[in-house]
């Protein structure tokens, strides 16, 4: 994951090394805070969390980021990581136990798609054939970046991002519907 970040951080390695643990910690803290509050029915969008983390880090630490979009792009990857991690743990917890079996064990597999885990897997697949489209999805879904911000970070035109976004959504849709 860090490797990915390094690869497109534009060489600003020192800043990035500092950034990742901070953002990660900040996102976790925010999640915990919301968890403690537990307001049924009031959910928090991941993109809102990422934005909140940004505002806090700027305000409390006075840190200067290259720009907001750059921060959000990094945070988007971290957000994806956190959510996938959570979903994995949650699934394991839910699936403890299992049907009793005698003499021969059976392995009951769940054929239903796994929400965030399915998206994560599909995004990995997409990145293998078309890295940029996967990055666009990540920025939009987990980071809350606008089309213009995404376009600037990826060094392409906003029209290209729009087209990437439309194709990627159809592609993911189809993958997840399988």
């Amino acid at each position: 994951m860090t490797g990915l970040l390094h690869a497109w951080s534009g060489g600003d390695r020192a800043a990035l090394d500092e950034l990742i643990p901070l953002v990660h910690q900040q996102l976790r803290q925010l999640a915990r805070r919301h968890l403690a509050r537990e307001r049924p029915g009031h959910t928090m969008q991941p993109t809102a969390l990422v934005n909140e983390a940004y505002i806090r880090l700027v305000r409390e630490r006075g840190m200067a980021w290259r720009d907001r979009a750059h921060f959000l792009a990094v945070a988007a990857q971290l957000m994806r990581f956190i959510l996938v991690d959570h979903a994995r743990r949650h699934r394991y917890k839910k699936r403890g136990g299992g049907a009793p079996t005698i003499a021969l064990d059976i392995d009951v597999e769940d054929p239903r798609p796994a929400g965030i885990l399915a998206i994560d897997g599909a995004l990995d697949d997409l990145a293998k054939v078309d890295e940029r489209k996967a990055r666009v999805v990540e920025m939009r879904v987990f980071g809350g970046l606008s089309v213009v911000e995404s376009a600037r970070l990826l060094g392409v035109s906003p029209e290209t991002v729009t087209r990437d976004w439309r194709f990627a959504r159809a592609w993911l849709q189809r993958e997840l519907g399988k």
């Binding site: 999640a31 968890l35 537990e38 307001r39 049924p40 029915g41 009031h42 959910t43 928090m44 969008q45 991941p46 993109t47 956190i82 959510l83 959570h86 994995r88 949650h90 394991y92 839910k94 699936r95 136990g97 299992g98 049907a99 009793p100 079996t101 005698i102 003499a103 021969l104 064990d105 059976i106 392995d107 009951v108 597999e109 769940d110 054929p111 239903r112 796994a114 929400g115 965030i116 885990l117 399915a118 998206i119 697949d125 293998k128 054939v129 078309d130 999805v137 879904v141 987990f142 087209r163 439309r166 194709f167 959504r169 159809a170 592609w171 849709q173 189809r174 997840l176 519907g177 399988k178």
Partner: protein
């Protein structure tokens, strides 16, 4: 299938979208020419296109964030209050939320409570949709449409309370096999009637499928889940087309029931529902779906272009008239379909006319040998039969005692918990007064628990605190049930409260409880023990006859005096029904039998012979047997633990479950899923492996009327099969040595799975190769012949991989963690190990260095099992959770494996269950062909038959 060039796919996708929806298919057809794969891929992508403001991925991300933030899970709600409803049980998860059974104290009734998933609560779009569903359906008042009681918002939840339908889904029915024509037209007619009412009110359902059609126990059909319903037009003109909104279809995702117009993203109207009904009718008639394809693209293409095979071509006994009705419902052009649900309903009624009005539920077949039963038996189903049954129980002296039989299915959304897998069996036991049965059932994927069902009630009730229970038995007063869990014997009072632990025991195998409060129980590898029902330390009451090679005593059952008891003894290679006594003085062998037997008043022993349930006279005073046996049921399920799926009360109520057919036909398939040739006969197959030269397949399969699988060798060219192991114990998991000369397999012949070896050419005796404290199953043999990788199962804990040095017979752990690791497969160059681990919560295929290495590289992307290598080591196959054969290219660069992207090849088996210690396919050396054994449908036992006054069907 070759993957179309990515750039071309992207380009065609965008240019197709620039055209109007109606022109897109034709445009792509012209652009793609003969490239079916490209056409199908782009068409599916175009169909998946969504408006820009509609992004399900953000919602799913939010969903997870919401779960993360609130720590909510569906099951956590059970026991909680939502508005005035108390949540009793989680019934299932639908597209937009979870459905619970809840009680409504105000009106004293149970309801189905649908809660919008937390992830959607914040989304106005979804709130609207839920509300729209509820309002649409609640505006309808029709017996075939589920009644909505209340739509509301409380405690942070959007909820809908509706009628609780006590029954099963049509999907459950279809999974048991094709439906009789009479039932089909009856069910189809009711669906049509419900839809006619909805369409008249301007409401299109949009998601008709078997899972959305409930069949109540009395046969009344209810359409549920108007989740996608949308008022057709403000004016109420149902024929005015409307557009389906994108995300709606995204969530439904059931492409199989989509009409061509839906598949193309065109406007949908009431005739689209009729197409879906056509698909459902087709599936009911034939057991298969009309449109299929190895990929989604192919499925879209089939829906749009391929005519469905006539149902009578699949099942020749079907009437031509049914072909005509279904064919018209499935017309691609909606102008040619039935134009109204009422028309379709009338046609379905006409189908019924030449046939007698048949009951919905078919009676179980009568025993062939008990001829008198044919005349005497009262055959009925459902509530009427239960009323009869209860009347017979309550007034035995005054009514003429006729044997009465009816069946009970698993509670809604559950299945009977399988004990054993070779042939699924059902655990069922009858209360001493014969009025209640207790059985084991589970929600899919959840642990089995005990359910109690009064024969005079409609519903079964789950017993709390009985998860993972096995071998339940009743207290003599019928107030409690005892059972085994892990290494404990527990008692659960039916009146409530949590289960109480009575004693510690290793792997209990059946028990019995007398009026003096003495409990006796058998063990998997020991004698019969006794313990007080108040608790204590168990002490043995029988003695294993070590001299005769005795290894266990199981399934003790008190005779009426509460002192003597029956039990099943294993001695050497034979099993015998014996009588013992609490004082240990009686030790009488009755007769050899294979599985558990039971005493029945006024003096019978009920036992299983060649798969049939028989009754034999038994004099309890003299411990003497009559010479004749009479058949009570032609088929009764038995488990690998040697339990049998029947129980009898002293009042004459007998409950049993028949064996379910699980036969499948092995066949060769190519990479596109085309079947090349059948190999061998249909049977229950548990494992298949090919010899290194691809000429011989070693399979584990069971014989006729025999649960215990043996190893057979198949000559794959000629299809000839020769039996390789001969015994009544379980022989499974065969593997070949690298030179093909030796077969190693796992056998339970000494009570626990150990590894045995035998020359593949036969001749020499089988020799024991390796024994461990836990059961072990052979997974793979290293190419240099030095090692065997095996899976072992620590009972109650996890599965681990071990490495056996074959020459030194020395074992070392290979992968052992708190998670399950199994199905190890060594790469042909001997440097890598592919295996399954469920550390992420679902089984995935991993790769690590062999024999030493712990850096795992994940291969599969969305679950996988049964890895297998192509012989050149460049490609790895596995089976995805939905039953698709997957292929991954494996390149090794700089000492690290670098797996490619998994590609799906073809559907290899029905999704769902798979054996950790079995296999459903073997790939040929060149990876071009697959010998598949698990392609056939697998049916679980689906009903328990109850016979009241069973003995009155016997000869006097």
């Amino acid at each position: 299938m070759s993957e179309p060039a990515w750039e071309r796919v992207v380009e065609l996708f965008h240019s197709a979208l620039e055209r109007s929806p109606d022109e897109r298919a034709a445009y792509l057809r012209a652009e793609c020419g003969a490239d079916e794969s490209l056409y199908g891929t782009v068409l599916a992508l175009v169909a998946a296109d969504r408006p820009a403001d509609d992004d399900p991925f953000e919602r799913i991300a939010e969903a997870t964030a919401a779960d993360l933030m609130t720590g909510r899970s569906p099951r956590a709600l059970v026991g909680q209050q939502v508005a005035r409803y108390r949540v009793v049980a989680h019934l299932g998860s639908g597209g937009m939320g979870d459905v619970y059974r809840a009680s409504d104290p105000a009106l004293g009734r149970d309801v189905a409570l649908k809660l919008l998933a937390p992830r959607f609560q914040a989304d106005a779009n979804f709130r609207d949709r839920l509300e729209r569903e509820a309002r649409a359906a609640s505006s309808l008042n029709h017996p075939n449409i589920v009644t909505i009681y209340e739509i509301g918002r409380a405690d942070g939840y959007e909820f809908v309370a509706s009628e609780l339908v006590d029954g099963e889904t049509l999907g459950d029915v279809i999974r048991r096999g094709p439906v009789m024509v009479a039932s089909l037209s009856e069910i189809g007619g009711q669906v049509a009637a419900g839809l006619a009412a909805a369409h008249a009110a301007g409401i299109v359902h949009r998601d008709i499928k078997p899972e959305n059609i409930m069949i109540r126990r009395d046969g009344l059909v209810k359409i549920v889940d108007f989740g996608l319903a949308k008022s057709a037009a403000p004016g109420g003109d149902a024929s005015a087309p409307t557009r389906v909104t994108g995300a709606v279809r995204a969530i439904a995702g059931t492409v199989c029931y989509m009409s061509p117009e839906q598949a193309l993203g065109r406007a949908v109207d009431h005739r689209s529902d009729l197409f879906a009904v056509g698909v459902v009718l087709y599936e009911m008639a034939t057991g298969v779906r009309p449109f299929n394809g190895p990929s989604e693209a192919a499925l879209y293409d089939a829906i749009l272009h391929a005519p469905a095979a006539a149902p009578s071509a699949i099942r020749p006994e079907l009437p031509q008239a049914l072909d005509a009705v279904i064919g018209r419902a499935l017309e691609k052009d909606r102008e040619l379909r039935y134009q109204s649900a009422a028309d379709l309903g009338a046609e379905l009624k006409r189908l019924q006319r030449p046939l007698a009005a048949a009951p919905l539920a078919l009676p179980a077949p009568l025993p062939a040998r008990a001829v008198r039963w044919r005349r005497a038996a009262v055959i009925a189903s459902g509530v009427a039969a239960m009323a009869l049954a209860v009347a017979a129980v309550r007034r035995p002296a005054r009514v003429e005692l006729l044997p009465t039989r009816f069946t009970i299915g698993p509670p809604p959304h559950t299945e009977f918990t399988r004990a054993g897998t070779v042939v699924p069996s059902v655990t069922v036991t009858v209360s001493p007064d014969g009025r209640r049965v207790v059985f084991l059932a589970n929600e899919p994927g959840a642990p089995g628990r005990l359910w109690v069902r009064s024969l005079d009630a409609v519903d079964a009730v789950p017993l709390d605190d009985t998860d993972n229970a096995t071998f339940p038995f009743w207290s003599p007063d019928g107030s409690s049930v005892a059972f085994f869990v892990e290494s404990e014997l527990r008692i659960k009072a039916l009146g409530g409260g949590s289960a109480r632990t009575i004693a510690a025991t290793e792997r209990g195998r059946g028990g019995s409880w007398n009026r003096d409060g003495v409990i006796i129980f058998g063990t998997a590898e020991g004698p019969v023990f006794r313990v007080s029902s108040g608790g204590g330390v168990p002490s043995p009451v029988t003695t294993l006859d070590r001299a005769r090679g005795g290894s266990w005593h199981r399934f003790p059952e008190f005779l009426p005096d509460g002192d003597h008891f029956l039990y099943l003894e294993r001695s050497g290679d034979t099993r015998t029904l014996c009588v013992g006594s609490l004082d240990g003085r009686t030790n009488t062998r009755l007769f050899p039998t294979e599985v558990r037997a039971s005493f029945a008043e006024p003096g019978y022993i009920l036992f299983v012979e060649q798969g049939a349930l028989l009754a034999r006279r038994f004099d309890t005073a003299r411990l003497e047997l009559g010479s004749d046996a009479e058949e009570l049921a032609p088929s009764v399920a038995t488990s690998t633990a040697l339990d049998a799926s029947f129980a009898v009360s002293s009042t004459g109520t007998l409950a049993y479950a028949a064996r379910a057919a699980t036969k499948s036909q092995p066949a060769w398939f190519d990479r596109s899923g085309r079947m090349l040739a059948n190999v061998g006969i249909p049977a229950d197959y548990l494992a298949v492996r090919l010899s290194p030269n691809d000429k011989t397949a070693a399979v584990a399969r069971s014989g006729v009327n025999e649960d215990a699988p043996d190893i057979w060798l198949l000559d794959v060219a000629r299809g000839a099969a020769s039996r390789f192991t001969f015994n009544k114990w379980l022989d499974i998991s065969p593997i070949f040595s690298p030179d093909g000369e030796t077969v190693v397999f796992s056998s339970s012949r000494s009570g626990r799975f150990e590894l045995f070896r035998r020359a593949a050419r036969g001749g020499a005796e089988e020799t024991r190769l390796f024994t461990a404290p836990d059961p072990v199953y052979a997974d793979d043999w290293s190419p240099d012949g030095r090692y065997i990788v095996y899976s072992s199962e620590r009972p109650g804990r996890s599965w681990d991989l071990g490495l056996l040095d074959v020459a030194a017979v020395r074992a070392t752990p290979l992968a052992s963690s708190q998670y399950n690791e199994y199905q190890g497969r060594i790469s042909p160059d001997g440097r890598w190990l592919a295996f399954i681990s469920d550390e992420t919560g679902q089984p995935e295929v991993y790769l690590r260095a062999f024999p030493v290495g712990d850096a795992n590289v994940v291969i599969s992307t969305r679950g996988g099992s049964e890895p297998s290598w192509r012989r050149d080591g460049r490609e790895l196959f596995y089976v995805s959770p939905d039953g698709t054969m997957m292929s991954v290219s494996v390149a090794v660069a700089g000492g690290h494996p670098s797996p490619g992207r998994p590609q799906s090849l073809f559907r290899v088996k029905v999704p769902g269950r798979s054996l950790r210690n079995g296999s459903t396919y073997a790939a040929s050396a060149d990876g071009q062909r697959f010998l598949v054994t698990g392609a056939g449908p697998e049916t679980a036992a689906s009903a328990v038959t109850v016979i009241v006054n069973w003995r009155h069907g016997l000869r006097p």
